[in-house]
Assembly symmetry: C2
Homo-oligomer: 369 residues x 2
């Protein structure tokens, strides 16, 4: 693959994102200059191969990538634009509107600035968690401020493509509204739900199934980082949370009525409509989430197979799927607590389902359907 | 395996759970008598092999399993106790307290009744979705009313064990409080979050990642069934939802303050504490969820590997894991929209991580860490 990004590239902030950018560019032979107020983070980023610490007498960068915490991003962008008067400057903060507003309020010329946001992350953070493939296949939002030079837009677009991401042009406000719903809202509801588990006794927790695990997985995120992100996108997040709270209020009211009734059959039918409405609205919303490769989630057939919990059994199964010539679109393993057996849910294109079922049954797999 | 359950077993309600009980017992040679007010459901259950429709002149059942919708369960249990004066009667409704209360209120002798709840289910429902292995490894809560005969408790316990489940003795109120938090709450927050996606444009949905998918997966559940479950457990669910709403109110207030400020740095530090507190509380709650085999989630090491998106590649990977002699404790495939590549996150016992990493690296796999 030919790399379009011209170096040197200066990376300011060598946490997970910055160090991953540095790793990927270094791997492609681009000179990467690293900068971070933390000497430890800087040394660690250098040690993992993300680049070399920037020197005052080093060559001028062609591109600056600001990967600082959201609340200081605008200040850092402004300083970098001033310090490197010929460089294109981008930032990768997960909220875009307020950075732009702060720069505009400070009267900064935005020709060489293009805000961006790679939709990539990990549950771990810091340079030690950096990986060059972090951006592979992820959407990378690129926001045109309206004052951005075409060359600056092209440089940031090239960076995204060179790192294996999919560039997605989007206005800052549209981006912020989108991530409020698809990223910030799930984080908050996962945290709100997981918070209820603190006081639960072990016997109750023993009844937990895959549903609870899925809903709360991302609740294991960094409080400081997320507080900063949510505060920076406060208005958009609030706009999504308020209707959610309205729905929640209706559900609580309905449950209050149901609890006061002497039995479920004594609850007036209309009382429970609020609950049914929320579940039905959830059905409709969930069905809209695109699946892998941008397709519709519902466009795959799922074949579920019982897998004995022994080394190599899952490999045998997937070898048999491969031998049947069927491409596996997605795979989910379901385990049950307290017993050594699992189920593998294999997603395939609907027109391959029949072939796969026949092939697996022939090879002696126990299909669950 | 020797089967302890004595037949005939009468299954009343041939939906997913009832038909799955019938299938599993039939497979073990136990006579199963099926009953359902819907002729279609009854015929379908018979056709999938769940048993034979009950006849008026048939032999008296030794055990009756009531698998009716939650709101009619108590009535059906009462009728079955009366109709079969020597049988043990259990039900599998997902809420237990109100069934017991209704039976007590009706003055029913509870010696032969034992309420139970297998923590098993699927996203599909009805007899066509029934599988004999539905209960394999799942907790099966068994509630002693205090008036239950030891023989009745033993019969229901034997049923759970015979079906491959793990019997969990628990009082009805403790069960209802537990499922309010580990099952009913996740369902509601998933639905509330997914409901927000209805009006979102496709570009915004294109930014969706694994977090949103995980949080909303169970939002694809049946509204009528869930309304009935939530109404039957109204008080316990309400007790969990109200503190969640209080937390949510604090977050909304904090976001309102942040949105009114001219920039993130103008928000008084204390204002955002509500957000940080909720994320931190979510950390603490999420960490308490037990992992597979009842162990702690944190007791596994995760090795992440890049997998080219071609038939057989995942099978090759897992064959190599098996060849390394390492047992895979869990597996998660991460896909990215718009690009044909995935990552496999392999959970293994911590003392096997090093061996696995070395073995996979030697075989040319690209490890992400």
């Amino acid at each position: 693959m030919t790399i379009a990004t011209k170096g040197p590239v200066r990376v300011v902030g060598t946490g997970l994102l910055g160090a991953s950018v540095g790793l990927a560019l270094t791997r492609e032979g681009v000179e990467v200059q690293l900068s971070d107020p933390s000497r430890t983070a800087l040394a660690l980023a250098r040690d993992v191969g993300a680049g070399t610490p920037a020197r005052p007498d080093g060559p001028e960068p062609a591109l600056v990538v600001v990967a600082a915490p959201p609340d200081v991003t605008a200040d850092v962008v402004r300083a970098e634009l001033a310090a490197h008067p010929h460089a294109v400057v981008t930032d990768v903060a997960s909220v875009k509107g307020y950075v732009l507003e702060e720069l505009r309020a400070a009267g900064v010329d935005l020709a060489r600035y293009v805000g961006s946001h790679p939709m990539a992350g990990r549950e771990r953070s810091g340079p030690a968690a950096a990986v060059p493939d972090l951006f592979l296949g992820r959407p990378w939002v690129i926001t045109d401020s309206g004052s951005s030079d075409p060359e600056a837009l092209l440089a940031v677009r090239s960076l995204a493509v060179d790192l294996g991401a999919v560039p997605v042009p989007m206005a800052a406000a549209a981006h912020d509204a989108a991530v409020a719903t698809v990223s910030h809202l799930p984080q908050l509801v996962a945290s709100l739900a997981a918070a209820r588990l603190r006081g639960l006794d072990d016997a109750a927790l023993g009844l937990a199934g895959q549903g609870l695990r899925d809903v709360t997985r991302i609740a294991a995120s960094d409080p400081a980082l997320w507080t900063s992100i949510l505060a920076a996108n406060a208005l958009a997040v609030r706009s999504v949370l308020v209707p959610l709270r309205d729905d929640l209020d209706r559900v609580v009211d309905a449950l209050t009525s149901a609890a006061l009734a002497t039995g479920p059959e004594d609850v007036a039918p209309g009382t429970l409509a609020a609950i049914a409405d929320v579940i039905a609205a959830g059905n409709a919303g969930q069905a809209r989430i695109p699946g892998k490769h941008g397709g519709r989630q519902s466009s795959y057939a799922v074949v579920t197979v019982l897998v004995p919990d022994q080394p190599g059994e899952l490999a045998h199964l997937l070898a048999d799927v491969g031998a049947a010539g069927v491409n596996l679109e997605d795979l989910r393993i379901e385990h049950a607590a307290g017993r050594a057996a699992g189920m593998a849910a294999i997603s395939v294109l609907p027109d391959r389902e029949e072939d796969l079922v026949a092939a697996l049954a022939e090879r002696g797999w126990r299909l669950v359907e």
